[in-house]
């Protein structure tokens, strides 16, 4: 099974199990920037029983749940990893946290058609992905933030991004990227 088919499989499993979810991380950014490959698929889920257990049962034939749990140090978000049994492709499951920006991102998500598998998936907005990437600020995150800003241009809701960057203390990173973008068209 190809990686794109595994993404479709996970989305369909979540749908069948009735799990509320949203595509996250770099895969979500792909909607808004210069496309690039990724090594895994991030999915943000709202944990509710019995739907979550049903979801794990749905994916069990293809994926094994890594017993090691991880916590994101900035927000306390929990991350679980589903390892595909036959390939090295992983799915990172992020549990929706009570972090104010995560809740805002969740409330603003949009249903987008995923043409590679002809199905819809809830996806964060470009603004929320820029904010998230500036917050993590690893080298690849900053490259992704730059790519989203340059591709989206004036379509971005700047007051919204600036509001959250001020709260997160990441405004300097944002302004640095904006200042260095050359005129394109």
């Amino acid at each position: 099974m190809k990686q794109s088919e595994l993404v479709a499989f996970i989305l369909e499993a979540a749908d069948r199990a009735g799990v509320s979810c949203m595509v996250g991380g770099s895969v979500a950014c792909m909607n808004y920037m210069i496309p690039r490959a990724t090594k895994d698929f991030d999915l943000v889920i709202q944990v509710q029983e019995p739907q979550f257990t049903a979801f794990l049962k749905e994916v069990d034939a293809q994926f094994e749940l890594d017993p090691q749990v991880y916590v994101e140090t900035l927000t306390g978000t929990k991350r679980y990893i589903l390892e595909h049994r036959k390939t090295a492709f992983d799915v990172e499951l992020f549990i929706l946290s009570s972090d104010p920006h995560h809740l805002s991102m969740w409330s603003r998500k949009r249903l987008r058609r995923q043409v590679f598998c002809t199905r819809d998936a809830w996806t964060p907005t470009a603004e929320d992905m820029v904010i998230q990437k500036l917050r993590w600020a690893r080298p690849q995150d900053l490259v992704d933030a730059d790519s989203m800003i340059v591709v989206q241009g004036d379509e971005l809701d700047w007051p919204y991004i600036e509001h959250w960057c001020d709260l997160h203390g990441t405004r300097e990173r944002l302004e640095k990227i904006r200042a260095e973008i050359p005129p394109i068209e």
């Binding site: 190809k2 990686q3 794109s4 993404v7 895969v27 792909m30 909607n31 808004y32 920037m33 210069i34 496309p35 690039r36 490959a37 990724t38 090594k39 895994d40 017993p67 090691q68 749990v69 991880y70 916590v71 994101e72 140090t73 900035l74 929990k78 991350r79 390892e83 036959k86 390939t87 090295a88 492709f89 992983d90 987008r112 058609r113 995923q114 043409v115 590679f116 996806t123 993590w136 600020a137 690893r138 080298p139 690849q140 900053l142 490259v143 730059d146 790519s147 340059v150 591709v151 241009g153 990173r173 640095k176 260095e180 050359p182 394109i184 068209e185």
Partner: protein, 105 residues
């Protein structure tokens, strides 16, 4: 790596985006290529960009799998997948530093 150290890495981003490691005579060409990629991405729909990224990901995994087979020609499929998984896990551990920490099982 402590979180502060990540900020130092992030500061290197300026240099990375200025292609400081590449020959200076190539910079105009690299600028044109980047400009063309941005223009193409702007003309695509979000769905088209996502589909293209998924195609690239499929291709990247094929290349990575070929690389493992090249290094370990006698490895069966399960062993080869294990080797690739180990490589990608090292990458995740590197990326996780300062952001994600393992908690008790």
């Amino acid at each position: 790596m402590p979180f502060d150290a990540w900020q130092m890495v992030a500061a290197d981003y300026d240099q990375a985006m200025k292609f400081s490691q590449s020959p200076i005579e190539l910079h105009p060409l690299m600028d044109v290529i980047r400009r063309d990629r941005v223009i193409k991405a702007r003309r695509q729909t979000p769905e088209e960009r996502f589909a293209e990224a998924m195609e690239m990901t499929d291709f990247a995994f094929e290349v990575m799998a070929s690389s493992v087979k090249d290094s370990y020609p006698d490895a069966d499929a399960q062993t080869a997948t294990g080797i690739l998984r180990k490589r990608l896990k090292r990458l995740r551990t590197r990326e996780d530093q300062g952001i994600f920490v393992p908690v008790g099982r």
